[in-house]
Each structure stands twice: as C-alpha cells, then as structure tokens.
C-alpha cells in the first residue's frame, strides 16, 4: 500500500513523500492496534498450551499399564487405576451413538432431502439449533426424571441415553449440511433414471455424503465423551467393573470430578492421568472427524 497519506498532501509544505510514514497518527494507530491484536491472540493461545502442558507433565508422570487394568483406590490406598471408568465411558458413549446415529441421520435425510422447506423441517431445524446450546446438566436432570426414577436405579443405560440427547442435535445439523453438499445434478440424474426417492438417498446421497456424515458422528462422539454433568446423577459412579448396563457405572469424567476434591496425593495424580486419557479419547475422535472431513470427493 504505497498510497500517499492525506494530511501530507494537504500540508503541501513538505515534499510529496509517497511512502507511508510510521509517525503519521493514522498509520501509527493502525500499527499499535496490530501489535495489540497480536498480543491478544497470543494470550488467547496460552490457556490451551498450559492445559496441555499440565496434562503431559502431571498426567504423563503417572502413566502406566496399571491405570488401564486396575480399579480406583480407596482413601489412603496407593497405586490403583481406572480401568472400570474407561470401560464405563466407552460403553455409555457407545449406547449414545447407537441411539442417536439412526435417529439423527433419518432426521437429517428428512431435513435435507425429503421436505427441506416444510413446516416440520423448519421447526425441527430450529429446535435442533436450540438444543445444541442446551445445558448438559439439564440432560441429566431430564433423564433422571424420565429414566432413573422409572427404572428405580442409576445405570449405564440412563447415562448413555442422556449423552444421546446431547449428541443428537450436533449429528442432525452436520449430517444435513453434508447431504446438502451432494451435487443436485447427481440426485436429479438418479431420479431421472427412475429411482424412487429412497433408492436415490441410499445409492447416491448417503454414499456421497458419507465423509461429512461421519465427521458429524465423530464430532458428536468427541463432544459427549468428555461430558460429566449429565452422568452425575444418571450413571452415578462405581468402584467395580461393569457387569450389566442396569447398574451404576463409573466414567472417567466423574472419576476426575470425585478425585479432584480429595485430600490424597495419589487420587490427585490419578485425576490428572485420567484427564490425560480423557483428552486423548476426545482428541482422537476430533482428529478423526477432521481427517474424514478432508477426504471429500
């Protein structure tokens, strides 16, 4: 940008210097703000770096095979691990995925292909967006009332369903976007060949939109595997291995919450190690979603 600055032109007394002078107020202000923006942006990156640093230093120092095979220690006990919590988290996320993926994809098919402009679609889309901002603790409260009170017990099933409630909206909205990116021409070609809508969806839209849909699935899984608020009083916690999906179940996030307030160093160390494992699980699904999302046709 080698434009002459306006005040210099008006002044006239100086020779016309076409270079921008840093001393000129407008340019100076712009430069200062740029420096400010850099500083703010760098500060914004500090928390993530600090969190990751702590996870690696504190969590990594405790990393061993025992963590995955042993049960949580009680009180003054030393050692121990959180194998049951890892199993519990994976089982409940699995239940959530089993429930929300079919419903979510069906809903997305309706929104993207069958009746994009209908009133039902408009309401569903709007409520889906509202649900993405739905506080996760309320999913727990809702499932407590709907499932735990009905079944009479805290359970992995209740935990899984509450996670499904949180996963569903992400899934519907991303799957809809993915199906919308499938070129109109391909859909029209299929319909022109005499396909029914259903055949068109199964043979064209779903295979072509699959990367995008899987991205949504992975994002949904990543989002809920770190959740703890909805599990607090649906799955509760357990110090033992998981035997059935209808009894209280341990999860990594609740283990971190419980152990973080304990006065024992061993438990605090385990909380950091569990955080590291949990963040790794979440990151794996996040990275998977990015890799799958990139491999578009």
């Amino acid at each position: 940008m080698n434009t002459s600055t306006a005040p210099a032109l008006q002044a006239g007394a100086h020779t016309h210097d076409l270079r921008r002078s840093i001393g000129e107020p407008r340019a100076l202000r712009s430069t200062l703000l740029t420096v400010g923006a850099w500083i703010v942006a760098l500060i914004a990156a500090v928390p993530l770096i600090s969190v990751l640093y702590m996870l690696i230093i504190k969590g990594g120092s405790r990393f061993s095979l025992d963590l995955f095979t042993e049960l949580p220690p009680a009180g003054f006990e030393l050692g121990g691990g959180f194998g049951n919590a890892i199993v519990g988290t994976l089982v409940m996320v699995g239940i959530a995925a089993l429930i929300s993926i079919p419903i979510g994809i069906l809903a997305a098919i309706y929104l993207a292909e069958l009746a994009p402009t209908s009133r039902l679609a408009a309401v569903t889309r709007f409520l889906g967006k509202v649900l993405t901002g739905f506080p996760s603790i309320l999913a727990g409260v809702f499932i407590y009332a709907a499932v735990v009170l009905t079944m009479g017990t805290y359970s992995a099933l209740a935990g899984g369903i509450s996670l499904a409630v949180l996963m569903l909206p992400t899934l519907v909205l991303t799957a809809e976007e993915a199906m919308k990116t499938v070129p109109r021409k391909m859909k029209d070609a299929a319909l022109g060949m005499g396909c029914t809508r259903t055949q068109m969806i199964w043979k064209i839209v779903l295979p072509t939109g699959l990367p995008g849909i899987l991205t949504g699935v992975m994002l949904g899984i990543a989002r809920v595997s770190g959740e703890s608020a909805p599990l607090l009083f649906t799955a509760l916690f357990s110090n033992y291995w998981l035997h059935s999906t209808t009894e209280p179940t341990a999860s990594l996030s609740i283990l971190i919450y419980n152990f973080s307030s304990m006065p024992f160093d061993n438990q605090i160390e385990l909380a950091w190690a569990a955080s590291l494992v949990l963040v790794l699980i979440v990151l794996v699904f996040n990275i998977l979603s990015r890799i799958i999302g990139r491999s578009k046709f």
Binding site: A45, M54, K58, I105, T124, P135, A145, P169, L236, S275
Partner: protein, 324 residues
C-alpha cells in the same frame, strides 16, 4: 395399499422399469420413517419441558414465585430459594462474556483480516477450536491447580491495597468467582470466536476493498467498516456464548465454591444454578429434588430464551447477507 402411480404412467413395458410395488412400498415407509426421525426432535424438546416441569410442579405449588426471590436453602426446614444462584449465574456469565467477547472478537479479526498467512491462520484456528474439545472437568482440575494459585498473589494484593472497592472487598480463600469466571471465559471463547469469524467472512469482499480503495488504513477498515457490517453476527456470537456460559456446569461446580451468598466481590465464593444442581442433586431427598427441578426449570427457561434470541438474530443476519 396405495396405488402405484409409476405403473399407471409407464405401463410396465420397455427397457426402463417402473419401481415395483415392493420398491414403491419401501419408498413410502422409508419416507415415513425419516419424517418420524425429524419429529423425534420436536417430541424430545416437548418431553423435556413436560418432564422437568412435571417434577417441578410440587415445588412450584409450594413456593410459587417467592422461590426466585428467597436466598435460603434449608433442607431440614424445607425452605428453598435460588436468588443467590440466579445472581451468581448471571454475574459470572456476564463477566465471562466481557472477557471472552473482547478476546473472541479480537481473535476473529486476527484470523479473518489477513494478519496471518493462510496456513498459519488454519493452525491458530485449530488451537482455538481445540479449547472447545477440552472437557469441562479437565478445565475444572486445571483451574484448581493452576489458575487459583496463579491469581492468588494478585488477588491478595488487590484486596489489601484497594479493598474498599466492592469488587475486591473479600480475600480469595481458594475457590471463588474470579477463578470460575476466568475458566468460564476460556470455555466460551471458541464459541464466540467461531461465530464472529463466520460473521466477518459473510461481509462481501467488495465492501472491504471499497474502504481500502478510499485510502483507509487497515484498522480504519476493520473498526469502521467490517465490525459495523458484521455487528449482527458478532452480537449473536455474544448471545450464544452467554447461553453457553449460563449452562456450564462442572468447571464452575469445582471452582466457584458453592456458597449460598450474594456478593459483588470477585474473590468471594458464589454459586450458580447449574452447579447447585450438580452439587445437591446426587444426595437429594424427595422434597429437595422437587425444589431442584424447579431450579432446573428456571435454568432451562433462561437458556432457552437466550438461545432462541441468539439463533433468531443469527438467522436474520445470515438472511440479510444472502439476499445481497
């Protein structure tokens, strides 16, 4: 069975075949199934309202609106009120929004207005997005062992030197409003930054080029053209970030101190609706559960209103730009 219109038109002859009756039936039932899938979301929202509302009913009948204005939480005497929690929720969320709003919008400007080469911008965006991937409990743990010790010297100094200002009127005893707010602002930063970035990207390129063409400096373009044009989107980013902050639970339950009091001080412990639920629900008896359900209903109402407003503004601004 419904009549198959394809057979009527094509007559069932020639190389191309009309869909068989089975295919036609499969089509109809699959479409119906998809429609049910879409309806499930509406039913789900209605069921959530009905279930939480129903459980809260006994408490609503018992305490009426006085529940919102009372600050007693006494399980023995069955007296419940959530004024301190409502105050704490709004106060912590507003403070967090002020911090996250400033940082989020600046980061959005930084990432969309050619400060970085595209490749670096992608990396930096990933760093900010990754903040959203860190689970709430992990932030809570980090807050307890990193943020609280880090801000303690500054908090003590502020309390001792300028303690007469209401914001610094108590000493930081450990968990409290400030550490909770700081962590909360970090947690909503990705939401604010992401939606603001979208808002800046929606501004037509010509608008920006026209401003540069008039001889404006980079920051004159940003502050006088880009920000006002994207203001709708930025505002909705703030509202949705605020909604996130209102419902955030675990990190707050671990950091805010869960104390039933109303104070302006940044260093005193406080409580929020969500962390009240998290800390009291697991051990609550029947009567307390109804009161907690009432509190959940209030939280639901507040977040629903905030989110509906945010999404409404977002949809309106997107439509405005789509029309151009």
């Amino acid at each position: 069975m419904a009549e198959n219109p394809f057979i009527k038109v094509a007559g069932g002859a020639g190389i191309t075949q009309p869909p068989s009756s089975a295919e036609f039936l499969a089509d109809r039932s699959f479409r119906f199934l998809a429609q049910v899938g879409a309806a499930v979301i509406i039913v789900l929202v209605a069921y959530i309202l009905w279930e939480i509302g129903g459980q809260a009913m006994p408490a609503i009948r018992e305490y009426h609106l006085g529940f919102l204005a009372s600050s007693v939480w006494d399980v023995q005497q069955h007296r419940f009120g959530i004024l301190p929690e409502i105050w704490g929720t709004l106060y912590s969320s507003l403070l967090a929004l002020m911090i996250a709003g400033f940082f989020g919008v600046t980061v959005a400007i930084f990432l969309t207005q050619d400060f970085l080469p595209p490749r670096l911008a992608v990396i930096f965006r990933t760093v900010i997005d990754m903040l959203a991937a860190i689970p709430s409990v992990v932030f809570g743990l980090w807050g307890i062992f990193v943020v609280i010790p880090a801000i303690r010297p500054l908090a003590d100094w502020l309390h001792q030197t300028v303690g007469f200002i209401p914001f610094f009127s108590t000493s930081l005893s450990g968990p409290g409003l400030l550490p909770a707010t700081l962590v909360l602002s970090i947690m909503i930063l990705p939401t604010v930054a992401a939606i603001s970035q979208d808002a800046f990207r929606l501004v037509p390129y010509r608008t920006k080029e026209a401003a540069y063409g008039m001889g404006a400096t980079r920051w004159e373009v940003i502050l006088r053209v880009m920000v006002p044009t994207a203001s709708g989107g930025i505002f909705s980013a703030m509202v949705l970030g605020f909604g996130r902050a209102l419902g955030e639970t675990m990190a707050l339950a671990m950091l805010i101190g869960n104390s039933n009091q109303i104070s302006l001080s940044l260093f005193s412990p406080a409580n929020t609706l969500a962390s009240l639920l998290a800390s009291h629900f697991p051990e609550a008896g029947q009567v307390e559960v109804h009161a907690l359900m009432y509190a959940a209903l209030v939280l639901l109402a507040i977040t629903l209103i905030v989110n509906v407003v945010g999404i409404g503004i977002l949809t309106m601004t997107q439509r405005k730009f789509a029309g151009k």
